[in-house]
């Protein structure tokens, strides 16, 4: 509809989007096509004597035969699902708390948002060495005081520890979006509901949440795209271990590339990851659309 208001010649039109499409396409699509191409090749970088050869679908056969692949896929999905849920809940809570007027509100908001702007490597190291280390960290120290066995976070509870880190880093992202939505809710609606005697909880569920449905959708979709790709946190803390416990698809691609140096296999994992992410995103998107339609009726 807007297009009809400002008429433009279509030739000059496409010039506007061309540079963006070209640069993004070259960097992302071309590189991805190169990756797909590499997935059909056998090339082990550290064995130049074995040369490069065409491998057909052998790489894919290998990864689907390997039992760890399924654990890795499961990890990727589970880590994303759990982190997303926790981020949504925590993000909501913080947004509700920060939506009120109270002294030092801006300072509190700043505190909540800080983790989002930190490098994942820094986050991982801080949590692993300063906070959760069983010998030197604060939790280790606390258990020494209480004479109990220190909790080995990144050894025995590696999966949960990674999720804690992801949630700490990404909740601010959700807070940003949901808080923005809350601040856009019409205050008159809330006032009239309060006058009608509705409890805060009813207001929350029947006015605020429905008003935020688009915000929740965007936060979830984008959050999912970013959390599926989490790599830095795992790299710095558990290196995918112990065993394969915290290995997700991006980390596996890295491990195969830089420890096994099997470029073809790494590329197959990468292709698998993108295909899987695409499917998940489309499924989630349809699901959310349906939920929204339900709310509208």
């Amino acid at each position: 509809m807007r297009g009809a208001i400002i008429t433009m010649k279509s030739k000059s039109n496409s010039l506007l989007t061309l540079p963006a499409i070209v640069s993004v396409a070259v960097v992302t699509q071309v590189l991805f096509l190169a990756t797909i191409f590499l997935s059909f090749i056998k090339w082990i970088v550290i064995r130049p004597d074995l040369g490069k050869s065409f491998a057909g679908i052998k790489n894919y056969v290998w990864i689907f035969k390997a039992p760890e692949t399924y654990q890795i896929i499961g990890n990727t999905i589970l880590i994303t699902a759990l982190s997303l849920t926790l981020c949504l809940i925590l993000g909501f809570c913080f947004s509700l708390l920060l939506n009120r007027r109270f002294p030092l509100r801006k300072l509190c908001r700043m505190f909540v948002l800080i983790p989002f702007f930190m490098t994942p490597a820094v986050i991982g190291i801080i949590w692993k060495t300063l906070l959760l280390h069983p010998s030197f960290g604060i939790t280790g120290y606390i258990s020494q005081i209480y004479n109990s066995a220190p909790i080995d976070f990144f050894g025995q509870h590696a999966f949960i520890s990674i999720i804690i880190l992801i949630v700490w880093q990404w909740t601010p992202f959700f807070v940003l979006i949901i808080l923005a939505g809350l601040q856009g809710v019409n205050p008159e609606m809330i006032e009239s509901a309060q006058i009608d005697g509705a409890s805060s909880i009813r207001i929350l569920f029947q006015i605020k949440i429905p008003a935020l449905r688009y915000h929740i959708q965007v936060a979830t979709m984008l959050g999912m795209i970013f959390i599926l790709k989490v790599f830095g946190l795992i790299y710095v803390t558990t290196r995918g271990g112990p065993g394969f416990t915290t290995t997700n698809l991006p980390y596996q691609v890295f491990k195969i590339s830089y420890y096994k140096w099997d470029i073809g296999q790494a590329a197959s994992y990468a292709t698998l990851m993108v295909a899987m992410s695409l499917i998940i995103i489309m499924v989630m998107f349809n699901f959310i659309q349906k939920q929204i339609k339900r709310l509208e009726i």
Binding site: S135, A158, Y259
Partner: protein
């Protein structure tokens, strides 16, 4: 708005400076190195080199894993961005075979008779040099070398009436640790690395594998994880760490273990000989209280590992002569003397030259010198295991695929130590991974 524009122009100008910085540089060398204190010292003292010889140096310093990934990528994918690379005894043989680094023989030949005599190639420890050579030609020069040994608190030993033999066995170590273990007071019997990684927990466990008479592969390159000896090694490591070792072992690498030992929280520690320097340093609360013993044996003796960080010249380098000048400068007796005199003899790079160990100032500053030298001389690089094997390397298997295999086994060990996996599934997983490496790499013989 104006200020913004000025800022913008300034930034754009800075962005264009690389175009100008290429002009007029005499010779410049790019060096990739590890972030160990000895290397950082080399980085600092390299200004002396530039003053003397006039060649400028640019360093990139990274932790071991990141460095190895980066330089391997650089040589294997043909980028050639570095002139000098820091590689270990592990990398040198196959880097040489792949022609990623150049043989140094032709450069040694170009040295004058006096220079060569002054440099004295015979002064270097021979196990190290042979580990850095291929077909009789030397490809890298050791910058510092290490083996492994036991560190123990002589004051605690005296208190409990214990005596440490010069060459203890693992069983003896275990018994000592039981006496010393005092978790109520945050004091552990022994601390051992558990952090997953082929250069972390696997370095220590690798020597234990050899000590217990196990091996990675037999002479036909069939994997040997599914053996009683290997199971014994795994079980022993887990028992000693869980019963008389530190909590949360999978978060303890070299650095954390050093911190535990130097803050007086453990009675014993088995790890790299370079740690001795730190334990006698100013930071250490146990200075003067530490004594040393050879790496523990079991079925096999002489289990101490062998490692040397070494300097090599990339084949793609365009400044090979200048690079050779630098690497000989950094490994010369004069350099070691320079470190000794400016920073203290304790900081002198260990494990390379015999003359270092004959130097009285060094001996005075480093009470661990004799045992380090013994450990390195005894290291069984060529015949690391009890039964014969087709590979070399004490705490690793000298094949390129070991990076991946060792990393995987390290993760399995960590899973076993943290109780996430049981022994059988770990053994089977390791066996499977090793078999795949053996077959895919073309080593396997029927």
């Amino acid at each position: 708005m104006k200020r913004f524009v000025i800022l913008l122009v300034a930034v754009l100008f800075l962005g264009l400076t690389p175009l100008f910085s290429q002009i007029g540089i005499a010779e410049e060398l790019a060096i990739a190195t590890v972030n160990n204190p000895d290397m950082i010292t080399m980085q600092k003292l390299s200004e002396e080199f530039t003053k003397d010889i006039g060649i400028k140096l640019s360093f990139i310093v990274l932790p071991e894993n990141e460095l190895r990934q980066k330089v391997t990528q650089d040589v294997a994918l043909g980028a050639g961005k570095f002139d000098i690379v820091t590689i270990g005894t592990y990398d040198t043989p196959f880097w040489a075979a792949n022609k990623w680094i150049v043989s140094l023989e032709s450069y040694f030949k170009k040295m004058s008779v006096t220079e060569l005599k002054e440099y004295n190639r015979d002064d270097f420890l021979s196990p190290v040099i042979s580990a850095l050579s291929l077909n009789g030609e030397q490809f890298a020069i050791p910058f510092y070398g290490e083996s492994s040994m036991v560190f123990y608190r002589k004051d605690l030993f005296e208190k409990h009436g214990l005596t440490m033999p010069k060459a203890p066995t693992w069983e003896e170590i275990y018994q000592f640790a039981k006496v010393l273990h005092d978790p109520a007071n945050n004091n552990y019997g022994i601390v051992l690395r558990g952090l997953p990684g082929w250069g972390q927990n696997m370095a220590v466990f690798g020597t234990m594998i050899n000590a217990f008479g196990a091996r990675w592969f037999d002479e036909k390159w069939h994997p040997q994880f599914d053996t009683q000896e290997m199971r014994n090694a795994f079980q022993f490591y887990k028992n000693i760490v869980t019963e008389v070792g530190e909590p949360g072992p999978t978060s303890v690498g070299f650095t954390e273990a050093l911190a535990l030992m130097s803050s007086g929280r453990t009675g014993m520690w088995y790890d790299a000989t370079v740690a001795a320097g730190f334990l006698e340093g100013a930071d250490s609360t146990v200075k003067g209280k530490v004594a040393y013993a050879l790496a523990p044996s079991a079925k096999k003796e002489n289990t101490g590992w062998l490692w040397a960080w070494s300097l090599a010249i990339e084949s793609a380098s365009k400044n090979k002569d200048a690079a050779f000048k630098f690497i000989t400068w950094a490994t010369s007796k004069n350099y070691i003397k320079l470190v000794g005199e400016t920073l203290g003899w304790q900081q002198a790079p260990p494990g390379t030259r015999i003359s270092t160990y004959e130097n009285s100032s060094y001996q005075a500053a480093a009470p661990f010198a004799t045992l380090t030298l013994d450990s390195m001389k005894n290291a069984d690089y060529d015949k690391p295991t009890y039964d014969p094997v087709p590979y070399k390397g004490v705490q690793y298997v000298s094949i390129p695929e070991f990076q991946g295999l060792g990393e995987q086994v390290g993760q399995e060990l960590a899973a076993y130590l943290s109780g996430t996996k049981d022994l059988e599934s770990v053994i089977q997983a390791c066996q499977k991974a090793a078999l795949e490496v053996s077959k895919n790499g073309g080593y396997y013989k029927e």
